[in-house]
């Protein structure tokens, strides 16, 4: 083989890789359209009474590390959740600021002699506090051990059969728990559920809840709306139909406690403890042959502030890629495992090739094609076809995600908002997606060369 054969081979590899990955996403998309239609039909007829007192009580766990600025508002908003029975457990993970003092002051905390049951091992618990003003609020004061360790302490202290892990900076909806618990009510085999994250920038927030929905002013945050629609509405929704969701956001996830404890709780040596737990639950239950469901709820469950500058977004994407790499590699025996079913043979390889290693192929594809074209090694016809396929498919996928949104929740009610989003779905393919791929590629490289992840 001479060098021209190599170049021909490579250019074909990259063109076909782009086509293959996008066809995969389109198939996922078709699956999610079907699932979403059934879901929306059921949801639109919410005539049967929702409550009967049979909803299982839920322990809401909030790991807090240096959260003195936000923790009070967060706990106040949880008190207003529309759900029959729940407790709130804040785990102060050895904060160096005044998180504990703020909680003590704002919620009249008193030390409580609780018989702490350490079912999952972790760093030492110094004290357990109970609020004199909010009877369902407890605070665990512990040595610093990271988010995963804090969540494990919360699981140990929780009273109820389901727990909901929530980030201290998330904004929930009053019906978040009610929506997220539905899969548990409808299918007793459900072990975890997660929901769609929405972007809260520029939205009106009152008493900790979103009261007015607006699009962000920042172009970067606007692009992240399109990105999140793609990730959640057809990514997670499609995999959910196959019971193969591998990613549930760490900002909000509802879990069956006993199953998580059986799996050993959150992994403390990875920064991607939320993703890793989901993959490990699949791993454990598939290999045991236990029937189970991990379900994605398409409703907007919680809102979060998106980074509005490139630096913060880069950090987020770099970390995300590391976390994905860690969660997959820690569960590598699941790949092509004969007991693993659709998770082992479809979802895991798909995520591995197109999400984990995908940024590498994408960035190298762009570099190869652009440099090859610049050096005259690749014809302009091939180059233009490559761009058409890479950008065209990207646009198609983003438009489809917006179409799904329009078919289902139409969160953004104004026509001007829709017009802006339509422009965003087209523009994000010119620069934004490529930049995100580059950052994720950097994340992959950092993981390979084992650079320390930023402290969480």
């Amino acid at each position: 083989m001479n060098w021209t054969d190599w170049i021909t081979g490579l250019q074909w590899f990259f063109v076909l890789y782009f086509i293959g990955s996008n066809i995969g996403y389109i198939l996922l998309n078709l699956l999610s359209i079907r699932t979403l239609r059934t879901y929306m039909e059921a949801r639109s007829l919410g005539d049967l009474p929702a409550y009967s007192g049979y909803e299982p009580p839920i322990s809401i766990l909030i790991p807090a590390y240096n959260e003195e600025a936000t923790i009070t508002a967060m706990v106040h908003s949880l008190a207003l959740l529309d759900y029959p029975e729940f407790e709130v457990v804040v785990i102060n993970d050895g904060s160096e600021d005044n998180t504990l003092a703020t909680l003590q002051h704002d919620f009249s905390l008193v030390v409580f002699p609780e018989a702490y049951w350490q079912r999952i091992k972790g760093k030492g618990v110094r004290a357990i506090y109970r609020s004199m003003t909010y009877p369902n609020l407890r605070v665990i004061e512990k040595e610093h051990g990271g988010k995963a360790d804090a969540l494990n302490a919360g699981i140990n202290a929780s009273r109820y059969p389901l727990f909901c892990a929530v980030s201290a900076d998330s904004i929930l909806q009053s019906d978040s728990l009610r929506r997220a618990v539905q899969p548990f009510l409808e299918n007793p085999l459900t072990v975890a559920s997660g929901g769609t994250v929405r972007i809260a920038n520029n939205c009106e927030v009152k008493n900790g809840f979103i009261t007015g929905i607006e699009l962000p002013k920042s172009g970067l945050a606007l692009m992240q709306i399109v990105e999140s629609l793609r990730t959640f509405l057809f990514g997670a929704m499609g995999w959910s139909a196959l019971n193969a969701v591998l990613i549930i956001s760490g900002a909000f996830g509802l879990f069956r406690k006993e199953t998580v404890i059986e799996a050993g709780g959150y992994h403390t040596s990875t920064s991607g403890e939320d993703m890793e737990l989901i993959v490990r639950l699949h791993h454990m239950l598939r290999l045991k042959g236990s029937p189970y469901h991990i379900t994605f709820v398409p409703d907007p469950i919680f809102w979060t502030k998106a980074p509005e500058n490139s630096r913060a977004l880069k950090t987020k994407r770099v970390n995300w890629q590391r976390r994905l790499a860690e969660s997959l590699t820690l569960n590598m025996p699941l790949l092509f495992n004969r007991k693993g079913g659709v998770v082992s043979w479809l979802a895991f390889p798909f995520v591995m090739v197109f999400e984990w290693l995908g940024p590498m192929f994408e960035v190298m594809g762009y570099i190869f094609m652009i440099s090859g074209f610049a050096l005259g090694l690749i014809s302009w016809q091939v180059f233009s076809v490559f761009l058409m396929v890479a950008i065209g498919f990207g646009m198609l996928l983003s438009v489809t995600a917006l179409l799904l949104e329009e078919l289902s929740f139409h969160i953004y009610p104004k026509t001007t908002q829709l017009a802006k989003l339509l422009i965003a779905v087209l523009l994000e393919n010119f620069g934004y997606r490529q930049r995100v791929s580059l950052w994720r590629f950097i994340g992959l490289l950092r993981w390979i060369f084992n650079r320390k992840a930023p402290a969480k």
Binding site: Y54, A115, L396
Partner: protein, 351 residues
């Protein structure tokens, strides 16, 4: 080079693929905009419909208005949704008045027509409407739909049958209630609450007599959901002969009568921890001061939940004061038992 010009067949094909992608993208963009326009038109129409009909719904609470505006076929769905939501918020005579209005508008026949459609939403709407209308003529069709594999549709049909004739429906649906595990218990409990304990308890109790052992746990939970004292004798009978841990646990959960204290005591040392948890909890509910000693041993159980429920039960026994619980704590040597009692004492003090 592998290919250099658009005359290359493969490259030509790829070019067409690229162009097709852009074409489809453009079409989807247009569809998204059309959907939004459709939504706006639909919302406006629904708002007009609501403004027109809500006063008529209110009026019909006293007497159905003589002149009712015709409802266009395109408004059937919106009208029925509005009407069904109003029905859900009403009770007693008001529901019948609203039914008269629906009949006067011909919605009974419309619902029957919708029932024949393939569209899931239309069928769901029809089933819900026929249930509210208590349309006996739809009984056979609704009964068939209870076998539909879709849990939402089949359960809605079950509810409609219960609304039409609770006793007759229960006789037909009981096997489905126990067999269809895709029907959530809380939804079935709703149906029982709507029908009332009188309609439910008898048939459920009878069903227990002829149930297969694997149906017991769910039947016991259904009996518990019926909130009826008449269910208790059946639960006792099951418990006395039960060998399955899940059945025992479900029965213990339902015990409410002090006469059952003996039954609860029997299971305090059961090998399964989830049976022990229910046994000590039941003892807390139905026990007396005499059960004090029976609850001390579980305070040292290997499972936290058994210890915790035993401590709660002990502290909640009639005539057992907090001082006595403190004395018990001082008298025992097991650290786990002491810790759990300390916690429960503090909980009682702060409650």
């Amino acid at each position: 080079m592998g290919f250099a010009a658009y005359s290359d067949p493969l490259l030509k094909f790829m070019l067409w693929v690229g162009l097709a992608i852009f074409g489809v993208t453009l079409l989807l963009l247009v569809q998204t905009m059309l959907l939004r326009m459709q939504l706006i038109v639909r919302q406006r129409r629904e708002q007009r419909l609501a403004e027109q009909w809500q006063p008529l719904f209110a009026q019909s609470m006293t007497a159905v208005p003589q002149f009712l505006p015709p409802i266009a076929k395109s408004d059937w769905d919106a009208f029925l949704r509005l009407w069904n939501h109003s029905q859900e918020s009403l009770s007693g005579e008001s529901k019948h008045k609203l039914n008269q209005l629906a009949w006067a508008c011909g919605m009974g026949h419309v619902a029957q027509q919708l029932l024949e459609q393939n569209n899931m939403r239309a069928r769901l709407m029809a089933v819900t409407t026929l249930g509210h209308l208590q349309e006996k003529n739809a009984w056979a069709k609704l009964k068939r739909i209870t076998d539909d594999p879709h849990p939402l549709l089949s359960l809605a049909a079950a509810r409609a049958l219960m609304q039409i004739d609770a006793k007759a429906a229960l006789a037909e649906l009981l096997p489905l209630f126990t067999r269809r595990h895709d029907w959530p218990l809380n939804k079935i409990a709703n149906l029982f609450n709507e029908a009332g304990p009188d309609a439910v308890t008898g048939p459920l109790t009878q069903a227990v007599g002829s149930a297969a052992p694997e149906e017991f746990p769910r039947l016991v939970r259904l009996l518990d959901a019926a909130h009826s004292d008449e269910a208790l004798p059946a639960i006792r009978r099951i418990l006395q002969s039960a060998t399955d841990d899940r059945v025992i646990s479900a029965c213990l959960q339902a015990l409410r009568d002090p006469d059952d204290v003996g039954l609860a005591r029997t299971y305090v040392r059961h090998p399964s921890w989830f049976v022990r948890v229910q046994a000590v909890s039941a003892l807390g509910r139905v026990g007396s001061k005499n059960d004090r000693d029976a609850l001390i041993a579980p305070l040292s159980d290997s499972v936290w939940w058994v210890r915790y429920r035993a401590a709660q039960a002990l502290a909640g026994l009639p005539q057992v004061t907090l001082d006595e619980v403190r004395q018990i704590r001082e008298s025992i040597t097991d650290r786990f038992a002491q810790d759990i009692l300390t916690q429960v004492i503090a909980e009682k003090q702060t409650a």
